[in-house]
Symmetry: C2
Subunit: 108 residues, 2 copies
DNA sequence: AGATAACATAGCCATATAGCTATGTATCGT
DNA sequence: ACGATACATAGCTATATGGCTATGTTATCT
């Protein structure tokens, strides 16, 4: 279904570097070099990670002068949270129904 | 930090096949062949996907006779939901703070 | 104007991933 | 006992991913 794009979002989060970048961005926007600083990684390698995050819709960016500022886009995170919450609830519902069933069985 | 394992969970969900399997399992446990049926894929290929899900802790399984039954493990999903919710909230807090700031500026 | 800074692009390389076929093993049905 | 069923394992292949260096482009600084 829509699982194709959702899979891309999960894929973007499936890497320690990108996960750390998202965590950092949750505290506010930052430039590319600020974001790259904590990582012992060549520039181009890091830029690829940013591209993955942006392609997945987790991040937006705009360039002013020679510095590009990156911002978290909450839409993708909201989507992930919603999907996970829905399936957790559904599973929880199953468990509750099973509990009721076992209870009924016990009272016969 | 703990990001390493969380990345593995995201990685397990970063594939349409595995995502669909999780969706199916949210409705209740199923055997390997039941799970595999919707997919036009060779048996061993599908088994690899199940192994990825199980290694990531998203799924548990037990074999009885010749059939292995697979069950969703809610712990990993809970973890994902918690992480996403935390960072969304943090980001939302930033936005709210910015709103307050702009409002104060407007009133001077 | 020239040097430096901040990305951006191109292209290479090693490993990981996702698929396959062929074959093996342990149950189950008759 | 024997064939069929339900996984499991081994090993191959093609493409994707994540890293690098080298080089280019566009602002900013002095």
């Amino acid at each position: 279904m829509l699982s194709r794009d959702l899979a891309a979002v999960f894929g973007a989060l499936a890497d320690p570097t990108r996960l750390a970048v998202v965590e950092r961005l949750a505290q506010g926007p930052a430039s590319v070099s600020d974001l790259a600083m904590p990582f012992d990684m060549a520039g181009p390698s890091f830029l690829k990670h940013l591209k993955v995050l942006e392609d997945a819709g987790l991040v937006r960016s705009a360039k002013k002068g020679r510095v590009r500022t990156v911002t978290l886009d909450p839409a993708a995170l909201a989507w992930v949270e919603d999907w996970v919450a829905r399936h957790r609830r559904q599973w929880q519902g199953r468990l509750d129904a099973l509990g009721t069933f076992l209870e009924q069985e016990a009272n016969r």
